[in-house]
């Protein structure tokens, strides 16, 4: 898989999430179901690695990038993880102007709730796949 594709796919997933693990559903969709670049097991391993290391929880995407395209994929994933954070700069300015508007806050709240639902669904999928592997191992 091309590092540019890794960057674009991860950026899409990260830029539409509001928590470290919130990108997981879109990553599963793009890397596993649509492009078949990774298996569910590999995504689970990436989450496991991300959880086992200090630092941002969302850094598990670096492992996703590495598994999809080696070191260049890892670098692309690192860049994809950093890119949305730069949005904080204009947000610092815009927040004082727009964030008090009820419709804007309600839209952000709704996105956060939908993210949580998507995250629950990903967690259930992860647990089911891991459970199958544990059962097969015994």
């Amino acid at each position: 898989m091309s590092p540019i594709v890794v960057y674009v796919l991860l950026l899409k997933a990260i830029a539409t999430s509001f928590a470290g693990m919130g990108s997981l559903p879109q990553i599963q969709q793009d890397f596993v179901e649509t492009r078949h670049a990774l298996s569910v097991e590999q995504i689970n391993q990436a989450v496991l690695v991300g959880r086992s290391t200090p630092g941002p929880i969302g850094a598990y995407v670096v492992s996703v990038g590495y598994l999809a395209a080696g070191w260049s994929g890892a670098i692309a994933a690192w860049l994809a993880m950093m890119t949305p954070a730069l949005a904080a700069i204009p947000l610092v300015v815009l927040m004082q102007r727009w964030v008090h508007l009820p419709r804007v806050r309600a839209a952000v709240d709704a996105v956060v709730i939908a993210s949580a639902i998507l995250l629950l669904s990903s967690g259930i999928r992860m647990a089911a796949d891991a459970w199958q592997q544990v059962a097969a191992g015994f």
């Binding site: 990260i14 928590a19 879109q26 391993q45 492992s63 950093m82 949005a87 610092v92 998507l118 967690g123």
Partner: protein, 158 residues
């Protein structure tokens, strides 16, 4: 985030008001909250150089460790015993996923916001069941949220 707040307030580089603003911005910024917090903090101290330095410092060390760990796991993954151990560890890791979802939902479980949150949640579950892609679900949720706004909303998510 709490460690950063303590460190920078102790040094006189950040006050409580500034910290509250950065927390709000980090919640509203897509992606990983802590990275957005660090960028906002770096920006408020030294503009672009500060923001970029904070971003690299907060993401690069963990990313390097993750690459090394992933490379190691790829090498040992072919052994059946290792695969079972990894699967058990993944089962434990799913707790993190569930706890992330719970922490996102918690601020909306209070009474004034509960009805609106329930509507958005039910719509999200229905779209998931209908195989709608995550990005579309989030966009439709934003539209629905804006359409049904007007009732009381919770305080900022924690």
């Amino acid at each position: 985030m709490e460690l950063l707040r303590r460190t920078f307030t102790a040094n006189g580089l950040l006050d409580e008001t500034g910290n509250a603003g950065l927390v709000a911005v980090s919640r509203l910024t897509p992606g990983t909250n802590i990275l957005a917090y660090c960028v906002g903090l770096g920006w408020s101290l030294h503009r672009w150089p500060g923001a970029l330095a904070a971003l690299v410092a907060s993401s690069l060390p963990a990313s390097l460790i993750i690459c090394a760990l992933t490379a190691a796991i790829v090498r040992i993954d072919r052994y059946p015993a290792v695969r079972v151990i990894l699967a058990v560890a993944v089962l434990a890791a799913t707790l993190l996923v569930f706890s992330s979802a719970a922490s996102l939902l918690r601020p909306y479980l209070r009474r004034p916001a509960l009805m609106r949150a329930s509507i958005v949640a039910i719509m999200s579950v229905a779209m998931l069941a209908a195989d709608v892609t995550p990005v579309r679900i989030l966009l439709l949720a934003a539209a629905l949220g804006a359409a049904i706004s007007g009732s009381a909303r919770p305080s900022d998510p924690q």
